[in-house]
């Protein structure tokens, strides 16, 4: 695929006059790299479809939005858009006709991206094969089907504006912030959202449940989120999909496979430095549940009989293969959604060339009752030094229903 893209670029570079070729090449290459950080393809390329030709449905709390065709096709893509229009879509969340975009397009984050970078992305998009593919983006129910409704939303939750460097901080910190808050749009999953899908104020990067998964807090300090992770741990995770604390699964596995593994080590390091400096509030101090609690005892029995064969008796796991449960942000997260998701449905870990094993956890949902899933989830959240709220059979039942509905 990559070879094919380079081939396309080579072709497109033959067309314009030779004088700009070298400059074009580095601009286009920068655009390609930035588009990878932005993970444009995750939405704009349909499974099995042509690159950036649109058509992938994006879940929002209000219904599905289908990502548009952003190839240079003039009729159905964005070939006819002016550079200003393209910048407006990234910076202001507006279409070329001045209509509002839906914030499924992460313009509340992309707005931070500087114009020269946006133009580099445009330059790269211009090199793609123009694909005729008319996409009916809007499949929302009324009243969300009215784009104008987003004007109010924008007024409430959106503030346009490019990233401003903090001169008190290092260049590395600022580069990291520029990417984390902007193109990489980490907050799109990790920021808590309100009922209207806007970022909850004061809860940046503090974790949120979406698409059947809980994106854990990625703040640092106060024993929460990435507190125990070093900068190197974060870089390793984003580059390979796994480290001593966690293995990427679900939407994060896709993010690693599609995007973060391709980010340069320098940029990953900058992002890690920035993340390590984001303080979240202290977690509610919890006492681990007593091992003698009947739920803990049943949970331990299930764990020993079924889970220990991979995750080991002490929850430490096996590096690069079976994630640790004793030091994992997801296991102890305030919302047990991800834990319940993987117990019920299983999951396959991220694949990267650096960690190609991509092991998978089997589904236990057919084998364990809600009470048993609750017991084992409660156990792993309260064993080996972990302390988190117990899980009830009712929690399991609603996650089971949610996951079943998502499969249909």
């Amino acid at each position: 695929m990559r070879a094919a893209l380079l081939g396309l670029m080579a072709c497109s570079m033959l067309a314009p006059a030779a004088w700009g070729a070298e400059q074009d090449y580095s601009l286009i290459e920068r655009g390609r790299y930035l588009a990878t950080i932005g993970d444009c393809t995750a939405c704009h390329t349909a499974p099995g479809g042509k690159l950036m030709a649109g058509g992938r449905a994006i879940e929002t709390p209000f219904g599905n939005i289908v990502a548009p065709n952003i190839t240079p096709d003039r009729e159905t893509g964005i070939g006819a858009w002016s550079d200003d229009a393209f910048y407006a879509s990234m910076h202001d969340g507006k279409t070329a006709r001045g209509e509002n975009l839906y914030p499924a397009m992460p313009y509340p984050y992309f707005t931070k991206t500087r114009r020269d970078d946006v133009m580099a992305i445009r330059a790269w998009l211009n090199t793609l094969e123009p694909v005729v593919n008319r996409v009916d983006a809007n499949q929302l129910p009324f009243p969300f089907s009215i784009r104008a409704a987003m004007t109010g939303w924008n007024a409430l939750f959106f503030q346009a504006g490019e990233w401003q460097d903090d001169t008190q901080k290092s260049a590395e910190w600022n580069r990291g912030g520029y990417l984390v808050e902007g193109l990489a749009h980490c907050g799109a999953c990790h920021n808590a959202k309100n009922a209207l899908g806007g970022d909850e104020s004061g809860s940046r990067l503090q974790g949120f449940a979406l698409q059947g998964w809980f994106a854990p807090a990625i703040t640092s300090g106060n024993g929460v989120g990435l507190d125990k992770w070093t900068v190197d741990d974060i870089v390793e995770y984003l580059k390979t999909g796994t480290n001593r604390f966690a293995t990427a699964a679900g939407p994060m596995a896709e993010a690693v496979s599609d995007s973060t593994q391709h980010i340069s080590l320098a940029d990953l390091r900058a992002m890690a430095v920035y993340l390590k400096d984001q303080k979240g509030p202290a977690a509610e101090k919890r006492q681990a549940m007593a091992a003698s609690d009947p739920v803990m005892q049943a949970g331990e029995a299930i764990y020993v009989d079924k889970c220990a064969a991979c995750h080991t008796m002490n929850g430490a796991g096996i590096a690069r293969l079976f994630p640790t449960l004793s030091a994992s942000p997801s296991v102890e997260a305030r919302d047990p959604l991800s834990v319940l998701h993987v117990i019920l449905n299983g999951t396959r870990a991220a694949h990267t060339p650096y960690a190609p094993t991509s092991p998978a956890m089997p589904a236990f949902g057919w084998e364990l009752t809600d009470v048993q899933v609750a017991a084992v989830a409660t156990y792993v959240r309260n064993a080996w030094g972990n302390a988190a709220a117990p899980v009830t059979a009712g929690d399991v039942s609603s996650v089971r229903k949610n996951l079943a509905a998502r499969r249909e």
Binding site: A309, C310, I318, G346, H351, P356, T357, S358, P359, A360
Partner: protein
Amino acid sequence: MARKLPATDVVIVGLGWTGSILAHELTEAGLNVVAIERGPWRDTSSDFPVTHAQDELRYHIRHDLFLRPAQETLTFRHNARQTALPMRTWGTFMPPNGVGGGGVHWNAETWRFLESDFVLRSHLTERYGEKFLPEDMTIQDWGITFADLEPHYDKFEYLCGTSGYAGNLGGQKRQGGNPYEGPRSREYPTPPQKQPFGPTLWAKAAVESGFQPFPQPSGNLSQAYTNPLGVTLGPCTYCGYCEWFGCGNYSKASPQVTILPVLLRKENFKAQTLCTVQRINTDSTGKRATGVTYIDSNGEEWEQPADLVLLCAFQLFNVHLLLLSGIGTPYDPNTGQGVIGRNFSYQVTSSVDGFFEDKNFNPFISSGAIGMCIDDFNGDNFDHGPHGFVGGGYIGAVQTNGRPILSTRGPAGTPSWGAEWKKAVAQHYLSTYTTVTHGSSYSYRDVFLDLDPTYTDIFGRKLLRMTFDFHENELKMSQYITDRLADITQKMGPKVMEKHPRKGPYDVNVYQTTHTCGGAVMGDDPKTSAVNRYLQSWDVPNLFVFGATAFPQNAGYNPTDTVGALAFWGADAIRNQYLKNPGPLVHA
């Protein structure tokens, strides 16, 4: 009429160990590779996960992961005077099926053959004289030496992460390893597995008897391991569900947990599953393979043209395809002429049961390749002069499982049902210990494979026919090494001991091993071998045949390490010799 697919550089028939290795090596060389697999895709967490991998009925008794005889089987007879009848269900062996092949459900015993095994006929003739060998024994040299194969054994073991302790490191003998093995270029990738009670007790008895026991080399890993491809395997948990089962926690070496995660993601590789290759196609000269024809699960026929055809199916079915495709001269037992189907061999196993009163062996705490062995009675490690037979096997305490449907029993005389049976199995389950021999099977003029005249498969093709029985040499060998095993086992202190040397005639109902060998063997002479020392067909130089199919006879070991090493050896020959100058690599 077959529809023609776009040509590819390489087509591989069968995606088990050898197919996966060849596909990986040749895609690395930049070739486009298509693998065609008769069975389904299989993966750890969906097909044999820890939720239900430990199901004796489904996987072992009902053969869930195996080829269905309705898909393909063979016919069997003891000798040419009998009429062969079809194997309607599996008994004596269980051919694999699906992506990963036998690598999914092997025990993972990872042995190298002895140096003398590769030059068997010349070695034995030199030591004992030509007349010492039975007149109808057709054993022969392999055309390669242990030294040729050593770097490739090493590659396969480092791919798998094999657990063991070298007994011969670069010519230096080491206490604690196998003193008879050929020199290794380096230590095993991981240390030996831990040993349960039975092997420990047996090893003590072996030391008391003056032997040097050593841990069996195991593809069930003693610790986590990341192989040269970057793929990580986990540590074995001694669950006792190896042979006939897929491993649920990534700790038994298989294509799934060593190669496929990398191979499947390569742009220049693809695999077709649930597609059965019908034949290898050749051009009008018959000297060049043009690809293969296969039928998919909808019954549609496709032709896959390719510059290079690699047969990587299970041993029996490589031979079947060669016969069906009319490649090479079929073997004729009456004249001894012809090579396809010649020198079929098997494995000669036996056991000694010890019934103890005061011991608890916890037989369920085990792995397919755990155990302590000695190699003093293998190959030509001992003087056969006084015994009147050749060959041998490793013997030892190999604790593979304690699965109850097949392992519950009492001493001889225990009724097979009723109150006495029930009492006996309750009493003996934990305190019975079985030790084993794993003996060689040499080849004979009247043991061979050909096409059956009567029975056909679902495609209307003639079934493969197997003509096989044990010969006196092998039965004598089994008696001798079983006695030596019993000498040691007796020192463990059983109240009752029962010896079960292998007896004839060959019983197809009773599982022995799935180590069928030969039928298109390698060698230096096109009159007595189907493929040259590089596994290349003498008749069709752009066709290579892998697997135990190439063994001229079987040694007293499990074959997989040698099968894997030969795959790397052949891949090396293709990459470094054939691709530079396509054509015969050896001129007869």
